[in-house]
Amino acid sequence: MFGFEITPVIAAITVSHYLIVGAILFVIGAVCMATKRNALGILMGIELVLNGANINFIAFGSRYLRDENLGLDGQLISLFVIVLAAAEAAVALAIALNFYNNHNTIDIDRADELKG
């Protein structure tokens, strides 16, 4: 239908397999960010999105899957993404804790005092 043939599942693992897993995790994380009302649920969606991107980087940097691969560059970028995701989760958690202490609820639908 899209111009590709359905490869059998038991065939050798290629970059496309990893990319599909990364895409699924990314989209699930994005939908999680869009639908969760708990602020910490949104944080978990962000973690899923960043992991989907990391799988992509590792797949392109793997010398077992492709001959012309990114090599160590893919793994280094992935390391930086992991570290930055941890830092951003810490700050977002501090913001969520402040919101909870001031409003006594973690529901972000209650965060509507900044209007316009």
């Binding site: 496309s16 599909i20 995790l25 990314f26 869009a34 799988i55 010398r63 804790l97």
Partner: protein
């Protein structure tokens, strides 16, 4: 010999890939679907742990170990602490409006179709010759990436030593991003610790000991006022008005 033949006949690479990928995707869907925030955190732990397994399969052993240490062992523990600190009364359910679900599914579904179409649409990404060659002749030394990664972070690319000299200028080390990320982590640490410190808020619930102490303080203030007023009234009734004026002037001088 029978056991060896049985072990050899299994497609181990595909089996472990499907196992790790399946666990990752299934528990990510569970994170999306569940309403309980604590279960969401634990499903996310499992999903990210099997993502580390995918990293190990692709030959990125150091990144896989870092994923387990930093993500699963650090960030998710922090998230679970956050879940504990922001816990409301038991079984409170915050349900999403069905309209939001429909809209998110439409947008997410179209994004997923486009991404999967791109993933299977490029011919060079569907090429499995490198994968089959790796299955035949796997060298364990190739997956030892910790030392080359550490050296690349200090600026020396030992994996690109025998590359084309024309391309060598673009294959730089990662020292600058490393330092930037270090300063960034320091700033984030200080900022998050300062923002999340314990503050006395106006709406914080006061316990019994606090209330007793506040009551005692209030009573002390009231008795001070009563004593002051009583002393003023007694002085005005016993003494004359001139002496009262002298007292008032001395009081003002003292103040």
């Amino acid at each position: 010999m029978g056991i060896l033949a049985a072990v050899n006949s299994v497609y181990w690479h595909e089996f472990f890939f499907m196992l790790f990928a399946g666990i990752s995707v299934v528990f990510a869907v569970c994170v999306l679907v569940t309403q309980n925030i604590v279960r969401m955190a634990f499903y996310l732990v499992l999903s990210l742990g099997s993502t580390a397994g995918l990293f190990f399969l692709a030959g990125a052993e150091f990144v896989g170990a870092m994923q387990l240490m930093i993500y699963v062992g650090g960030t998710l523990v922090l998230l679970i602490f956050g879940v504990m600190l922001t816990a409301q009364q038991r079984y409170v359910k915050m349900n999403t409006h069905p309209t939001d679900w429909v809209l998110a599914t439409i947008v997410g579904g179209s994004l997923l179709v486009m991404l999967i179409g791109a993933a299977v649409g490029v011919d060079s990404w569907k090429d499995s010759t490198a994968s089959k060659r790796a299955l035949e002749s796997l060298d364990a030394d190739d997956a030892r990436t910790a030392t080359p990664l550490g050296l690349a972070l200090t600026g020396v690319r030992v994996d690109k030593l025998d590359s084309d000299p024309a391309l060598a200028k673009g294959q730089s080390g990662y020292l600058l991003p490393f330092i930037i990320v270090s300063v960034h982590l320091l700033v984030v640490l200080i900022g998050a610790a300062y923002m999340a410190r314990t503050k006395r808020s106006a709406t914080a619930p006061v316990g019994r000991a606090e209330r007793a102490r506040l009551n005692i303080m209030q009573m002390e203030h009231e008795t001070d006022d009563v004593v002051y007023l009583a002393s003023k009234q007694s002085s005005s009734s016993l003494l004359g008005s001139s002496q009262k004026q002298a007292e008032e002037s001395t009081d003002e001088a003292e103040e």
